[in-house]
């Protein structure tokens, strides 16, 4: 790396200490105050509620009861199954997503159709989980005259529609939910693996081959050991933490009679505590919180090394000499792309039928029309939900960005244990499940303004979004090349001048944070469910509310889902490169 000699700046400082973290540019003492807004939000709406929940789990009405609530919660019928199911989600689903993600990333590399395949796989990432749930419930409808999967199963097995296994029935409902989740998350794994594979120096593989290495040796020595092991750990951890979001999916996809067979801890905590977090609900919440935080710690220890690896000096670019993957592999990628398109096609096709047709027969047996869209567009509810969600997501994103940039600036210059501790604390704040702290958060909101209002809802979204944004921006600032940092420090007269220049250099991270936060708020169901009120009706809640009469409303639901998905899909597809770097750097280091 070339360095411009700068007067009075001992260049040697840049070359000692950990290579990529915490260069010795101490922030002036005053700038530490910039952490204050983030600290207030996190302290009031995350840390304090977590402590309140812990307190509630060992007390009844303020009186100490020891482990009584824990014993009760664990002895309640079905708790064992719920915990087991939650673990199954956290282990099986990430394994499948990681495996599929690697296969599809490897098979879609360096081929003509690869870009298109990856584009198709990325679309489901952007969809709200509510929409994913609606889509798969349409496809898995147990009536063969409406549900494509049931119809195909009946044809294949030669049994009548009443005899084929019900995907939404009590036995298979978890499988059905998992399939929807895998569908939604594989694209993310593909993006991350692709980024990792592109970073691998091809010279390494050549060297292994030159020493007579077989294909297996290449995979092991030139791919797995240098980078893939860590990438697998990253993807696995991301998806495992992501499975705590199955809540939305369960709420939308399961009819009331099988909800218990599908329940995971998220749902059980919500069912037992409702709006207030007390007793058994609090105890279950604490158990869950401990498990998530523990899992996060293990993942963090496992992936101590930086990911992605330092940028190579020359932007690698696709290697023109490299051969495309074998034919069978390319077919696999193309097949996956087609399979991933089917649910999207079902959703769009259903939305193109009037409410009566969509409820009474399959989308393949009636001519399309726009009646469902017309009903939605002429009514006022959709517009109100859209406008409210747009405003909410914009305001929350802007605020989160400002608060996080301010906090990231002083934090980026911490070194050693202080940096690691703040990183771990922020990551713990990222993974706190909101169901666990719902009751105390409502109390805090009641004290500062009012729960059930748009402002309260926005505050909760901000508090939940800030830790992740701070992590990503902190890492981005700390990773800036020394020259840029030095130039910014010399040119900026005040800290805000320096900060502005640094922010300009970290544009990819800022784009990633903005898009992720916007999409997160836009796609949300659970925060809206727990904290919204009469004057705050977000889109996710508007859609989920209609699933109470799923079949009767399926036309409107499908049309509403398509409308709700357009904006997040466009944003994520446009920003997909930045997202991977942002998500991974924030989530892992």
């Amino acid at each position: 790396m070339t360095r411009l000699p700068v007067l009075g700046e001992p260049a040697v400082l840049d070359d000692v200490g950990p290579p990529r973290r915490g260069r010795a540019y101490p922030a002036a003492g005053a700038t530490s105050a910039l952490v204050l807004p983030a600290a207030l939000l996190l302290g009031g709406l995350v840390l304090w509620p977590v402590l309140r929940t812990m307190h509630a789990s060992v007390t009844t009405g303020g009186r100490w009861v020891g482990a009584a609530h824990f014993r009760e919660a664990l002895a309640a019928p079905g708790t064992g199954a719920v915990v087991g199911r939650t673990l199954l989600w956290a282990l099986l689903v990430p394994a499948v997503v990681t495996g599929l993600g690697y296969l599809l990333a490897a098979s879609s590399r360096r081929s003509h159709e690869g870009g298109l395949v990856r584009l198709i796989l990325v679309v489901p990432i952007a969809l709200p989980l509510v929409v994913t749930g609606v889509t798969f419930r349409l496809m898995y409808d147990p009536d063969p005259s409406r549900g494509l999967a049931t119809l195909v199963a009946a044809r294949l097995t030669g049994r009548s529609g009443d005899q084929v296994p019900q995907l939404l029935g009590p036995r298979l409902v978890t499988v059905a939910l998992m399939s929807a989740f895998v569908w939604a998350w594989v694209g993310l794994a593909v993006l991350v693996f692709r980024a990792a594979l592109d970073r691998l120096p091809s010279s390494l593989a050549d060297a292994v081959r030159a020493y007579g290495g077989t294909r297996r040796h290449v995979l092991w020595d030139a791919q797995w050991r240098p980078l893939l092991l860590r990438t697998v750990a990253v993807v696995f951890a991301l998806v495992a933490l992501g499975t705590s979001r199955t809540f939305d999916l369960i709420l939308v996809m399961t009819p009331g009679s099988v909800r218990d067979e599908a329940a995971v801890l998220a749902l059980r905590v919500w069912q037992t505590s409702g709006g207030t977090t007390t007793g058994e609900g609090a105890a279950l919440g604490v158990i869950w919180l401990a498990a998530v935080a523990g899992g996060m710690l293990v993942a963090a220890l496992f992936v101590r090394q930086a990911w992605p690896p330092p940028r190579p000096a020359e932007p690698a670019g696709p290697d023109p000499g490299a051969a495309p993957p074998p034919r069978l592999f390319r077919l696999l990628a193309a097949g996956a792309a087609i399979a991933w398109l089917v649910p999207l096609a079902v959703l769009v096709a259903t939305s193109l039928h009037g409410p009566v047709d969509a409820a009474a027969r399959g989308w393949w047996s009636a001519p399309p029309n726009l009646a469902s869209y017309r009903d939605l567009v002429t009514g006022s509810e959709l517009w109100r939900a859209l406008a409210f969600t747009l405003l909410l997501a914009t305001v929350v994103t802007a605020t989160v960005l400002v608060v996080a940039v301010l906090a990231a600036y002083p934090l980026a210059w911490l070194t050693g244990p202080a940096a690691q501790v703040t990183g771990l604390l922020l990551m713990t704040a990222v993974v706190v499940p909101v169901q666990v702290i719902a009751g105390p958060v409502n109390e805090v909101l009641g004290m500062v303004l009012s729960s059930g209002t748009a402002r309260g809802l926005a505050l909760v979204h901000m508090a939940l979004g800030v830790p992740f944004a701070v992590l990503v921006l902190r890492n981005a600032f700390a990773d800036l090349p020394a020259d840029q940092v030095r130039a910014a420090r010399l040119a900026g007269r005040h800290w805000w001048g320096t900060l502005r220049r640094l922010a300009r250099h970290s544009r990819p991270a800022i784009v990633a944070v903005s898009v992720l936060e916007f999409v997160q708020v836009w796609n949300d169901l659970v925060v809206g469910l727990l904290f919204s009120g009469p004057d705050a009706a977000p889109l996710g809640l508007f859609l989920a509310g209609q699933t109470r009469g799923f079949v009767a409303n399926s036309g409107a639901l499908a049309a509403g889902s398509v409308i709700a998905s357009v904006l997040p899909v466009v944003l994520v597809v446009l920003a997909r490169r930045h997202l991977v770097a942002g998500l991974v750097s924030g989530g892992v280091r």
Partner: protein, 423 residues
């Protein structure tokens, strides 16, 4: 939020800090709008706004969504309770009254509700709520062309179900019953109707603190349900499918796809019927059949208005006036709980007949699951909803009726105990 609303919130916050919510809410009465929280949304909310437009004073009606209990609890914690709320469950009225959240109401003049309903809204001799809307929950809906001769007694219904079930199994006719067993409340409504018929005297005790869920009346009622639900071919697509069928879909199976001959549920079913009716033929109704041909059980549900602050008392009193709900009576889809509303003022012929039935019913009972305490009252996957679904799965899945009843009563008693009611 309107400016007066904002002023009020700040005042109330200060009041909450001092711990004197009720006193201050009284002082801020003045010219500001009275806030009413309701569960309705969409067309129902619009109609309610028409209703309150007739009140002499500004009224702000807000929809609290389905979980009005969580909404009101959060509002109470925040010290911003609405002045008035319309609650779908009388259990909530007495619960809030016991916590001291509600303002007692004077006995409204010229307002009478059918036997016993008024008592559900009192606590320690004080009245805390009034009924503003009723639902008739003892109806079967069917198309006359599919089912020309409705059954008159319970035994007729069982015989008809067996006959049609056998025909449906052979594949030449619709199944006898559509049932939305994916929604637990449909099954609890079945249970309540049967229970009110076999043991009308034991019915009300089950909502009380000494409920005996393992006694003879409950077992008899479950036995009857097992008798009809276990009929082979009773439901279109079989019982497994029925457990994944939501209420609205079960109505569609009768009025649109005609795969079933009849469906049981309350007067609110006509909303779905209108949306999915095929052809000119409109479905008609018959009463839930009981032991005797003249008058089976009658289960009613209802919404009650309560006042959280003295500023809401006037509006609640006004809502009991027979004239208040005239816009709703005119536009249909509304059944008044008050027997002083003249039958002639119902524009909707079905509602007119049902209102008449509510006044002459022999065994009128109020929805039981709405009166049960805590989580026992049921929601998806919880409480009595879940227990009735397990029972349905048992009796349709080949478990002997005796064994299924033993399991269900055991679960019911345990749930009642842990919710703070029952023996």
């Amino acid at each position: 939020m309107t400016p007066p609303g904002r002023v009020r919130r700040r005042t109330l916050l200060r009041a909450a800090a001092a711990g004197t919510v009720a006193a201050t809410a009284g002082c801020t009465g003045g010219g500001r709008a009275v806030q009413v929280a309701v569960v309705w949304s969409g067309a129902e909310l619009a109609r309610f706004r028409e209703v309150v437009a007739g009140y002499d004073g500004p009224v702000q009606a807000i929809s609290a969504g389905n979980d009005i209990d969580a909404f009101l609890r959060a509002r109470h914690l925040a010290g911003t309770s609405p002045d008035v709320a319309i609650l779908p469950r009388p259990g909530l009225v007495t619960e809030y009254a016991r916590r001291g959240w509600l303002t007692p109401l004077p006995a409204p003049p010229g307002y009478t509700v059918p036997g016993g309903m008024g008592d559900l809204l009192t606590d320690r001799g004080q009245r805390y709520g009034v009924w503003v809307k009723a639902a008739h929950k003892s109806l079967f809906w069917h198309l006359p062309s599919v089912l020309p001769q409705p059954p008159a007694t319970w035994d007729d219904l069982v015989a008809l179900t067996r006959r049609l079930g056998a025909r449906a199994r052979r594949g030449d006719g619709p199944a006898p019953l559509a049932i939305g067993a994916a929604d637990g409340w449909v099954l609890t409504d079945w249970f309540e109707n049967v229970l009110a018929d076999v043991a009308p005297d034991a019915y009300d005790a089950l909502a009380g603190p000494d409920a005996d869920w393992q006694g003879r009346p409950v077992r008899d009622a479950l036995d009857r349900l097992a008798e009809i639900w276990s009929v082979d071919g009773a439901f279109p697509g079989g019982a497994r499918r029925a457990l994944l069928t939501q209420f609205e879909e079960s109505v569609i199976q009768v009025v649109h796809s005609r795969r079933a001959a009849m469906v049981f549920e309350g007067d609110f079913t006509d909303d779905v019927v209108h949306r999915f009716q095929r052809g000119p033929e409109a479905p008609t109704t018959f009463r839930f059949p009981g032991n005797r041909a003249d008058g089976g059980p009658l289960i009613v549900g209802g919404d009650a208005a309560v006042a959280f602050a003295p500023s809401g008392v006037d509006l609640v009193a006004w809502l009991t006036d027979a004239a208040a709900f005239r816009p709703w009576l005119r536009s249909g889809g509304y059944l008044s709980p008050s027997v002083t509303v003249p039958l002639a003022s119902y524009a909707d012929p079905v509602r007119r007949r049902l209102a008449g039935e509510m006044r002459t019913a022999g065994t009128l009972r109020f929805d039981l699951s709405d009166r049960l305490p805590g989580p026992f009252t049921g929601t998806d996957g919880v409480g009595i909803w879940r227990i009735m679904q397990d029972f349905f799965a048992d009796v349709t899945g080949g478990v002997r009726a005796g064994e299924a009843i033993r399991r269900a009563t055991g679960q019911l008693a345990a749930a009642a105990r842990s919710a703070g009611g029952g023996r």
